[in-house]
Subunit: 334 residues, 2 copies
DNA sequence: TTGAAAGCGCTAACAT
DNA sequence: ATGTTAGCGCTTTCAA
């Protein structure tokens, strides 16, 4: 049943023209008589011809494809980022080759190199690995690389980041302005870049407001139900219990909200990262803009692909505080 | 700065062997002396050689790539589906070329054909268009196509679907078993396949239980805040107000929950589709398994790519009812 | 075990 | 306006 695919040559024979004329029609080059053009188009239609992209690419060196390596494309944050990229790519008639690294440095590397082997025109990476020197030969060979959400390791390259420090500072300042002084911080694993930055923003805001931070108020690596519950208990025990809480990412926000509900405790809460239904739950958050992260990364990439060879750039996307109730509870209400 | 990329020929010269020997090493073919192999590997390392995938593909006809056309990769449901596919693809050493159609039939077509032009080994499509005859030449030429989540239009092809009718029937039966008789249904736009199916499941369950369905209880196209609110008001007005509600998808569930909260009305509620934090909100849902949908679609595709040419198959993935409270409210409590 | 030659399907450069 | 030739970088086939 499986007819072998017609090539330009087959079309040329069917239309009684030369191969090059078919190529002209397919590529919309001028200087083809309407009459011949029609003959060629008919032949294309009849045979069901579709140009072979690999052959074309081998000749032109242009893939019309961008590679995207991310931790998990199923994560809403990254799929929103991916969507932002796609908007820009569509405008540039480029397609997306994507793969999830599953937070495994070896997979990240494998994917990135597989994309380079396919000669993508550019690469956008949400890094998991801390050493990207493996990309140096590719970058030298002319494949531009932009890092998104986290900075690269051991190489210098374009990077687009969320203002993690600023967002966290903003959340802390908001709670301080609301009259809170004993503010707890529940962070992600401290070897994650964004976790460090957000933690730092909290500390900076407290310090610059002249507020002390007691040791039991801060817990990093609160990524399980048990750990969150224990950390909260510790924050609330003793003579100086916290009256407010900042959660370092949306997974932690959910765990903390669950735990607070289970323990029947009221606290002012601000989460870093917006999440679906946070509005329904009246949770105040510092929202990132993953779509914008993706758009900016893609824009920058296309600039590089267009030959911009200025020194590497770092773009920082601001966050927005969305007050919804949970972050506006006064300390007196608790 | 931009050195042109080394080819196998360059490597061959540097290692003082023939081009074919380099090819053998790169492809792990046997019958190469350890000594020569080492020389070649050294040259590859030194030059930073990376095989050109297009050239390879042009020769072999194997892309090692699968195309994926979806409505919106940023939608959590589809990104979960995509992740399921990816698991299978990783096992088969294949990469994913993906694109969002934005529910536009023209974009869907353009993306699918762009993938075919790149000679993907197979195609997975979440259809938006209702006419997929444009894929016939490609399928004839040997590119297997599997449709996911919705069936294709005007062609016969492999399809993997959720049991929409069954899930909806299950939700209705659950409410009936809980003592409800006046059950409302808030559905999506009726020209969407899944919306029709779910609506049908509801009607079937009511009918087979011998329960009448009053006209104001059913509303399709409830996709905006205003429409949902109006539909709910209508369901609750009159002599026979509903005591329970089924929401046709998770977007509608959220709108309905918002509206019910705003109107300060209590109803038993079951949503079709699980959503993040539905557990936190105690919302009973009929959960689909998008990951499984993706895995099955990919498995089926790989079978076809491996030469399976049996008649086209239709796989139906069952749903699961997750009782969390909102669907277990007895009518007497309202 | 290794190499030489041909050619995959297309486009670029150069005729006509 | 159309055609001819060469060659992109690799794998396949065949020979040494």
């Amino acid at each position: 049943m499986e007819r072998s695919r017609p090539t330009m040559k087959d079309v040329a024979i069917a239309a009684r023209v030369s191969l090059k004329t078919v190529s002209r029609v397919v590529n919309g080059e001028p200087s083809v008589t309407p009459d011949t053009e029609q003959r060629v188009r008919d032949a294309i239609e009849t045979l069901g011809f579709l140009r072979n992209g690999s052959a074309r690419m081998l000749r032109t060196g242009q893939a019309g494809t961008v590679g995207f390596v991310v931790e998990d494309i199923g994560d809403p944050f990254y799929s929103a980022l991916s969507r932002g990229m796609e908007q820009v790519m569509r405008a540039h008639e480029s397609l997306l080759l994507s793969g999830s690294s599953e937070a495994d440095a070896a997979i990240e590397r494998k994917l990135a190199l597989a994309f380079c082997e396919r000669r993508v025109d550019g690469l956008i990476v949400v890094p998991t690995s801390t050493d990207h020197s493996y990309l140096l030969p590719e970058m030298t060979a002319g494949i531009p690389v932009v890092f998104a959400d986290r900075p690269p390791g051991r190489i210098d390259a374009d990077t687009v980041l969320t203002d993690n420090v600023g967002g966290s500072r903003q959340a802390t300042a908001h709670l301080l302005a609301g009259g809170h002084r004993r503010i707890g911080y529940l962070g992600d694993n401290p070897d994650i870049f964004t976790a460090q930055e957000r933690h730092r923003g909290y500390l900076e805001a407290m310090t610059s407001a002249g507020e002390p931070v007691a040791e039991p108020w801060v817990a990093m690596g609160s990524t399980t139900t048990g750990k969150v519950r224990a950390d909260l208990t510790r924050m609330l025990a003793g003579p100086a219990p916290v009256t407010a809480l900042i959660c370092g990412n949306n997974r932690i926000s959910v765990l903390a909200l669950h735990a607070l509900a289970a323990l029947d405790i009221q606290l002012a809460v601000i989460g870093f990262d917006d999440f679906e239904f946070a509005d329904l739950l009246h949770v105040t958050v510092v929202a990132q803009d993953p779509g914008e992260l993706g758009r900016q990364a893609a824009e920058l990439l296309f600039q590089r692909m267009d030959g911009d060879s200025a020194p590497s750039r770092r773009i920082v996307i601001p966050t927005r505080l969305l007050p919804r109730g949970s972050g506006e509870l006064p300390p007196s209400a608790l």
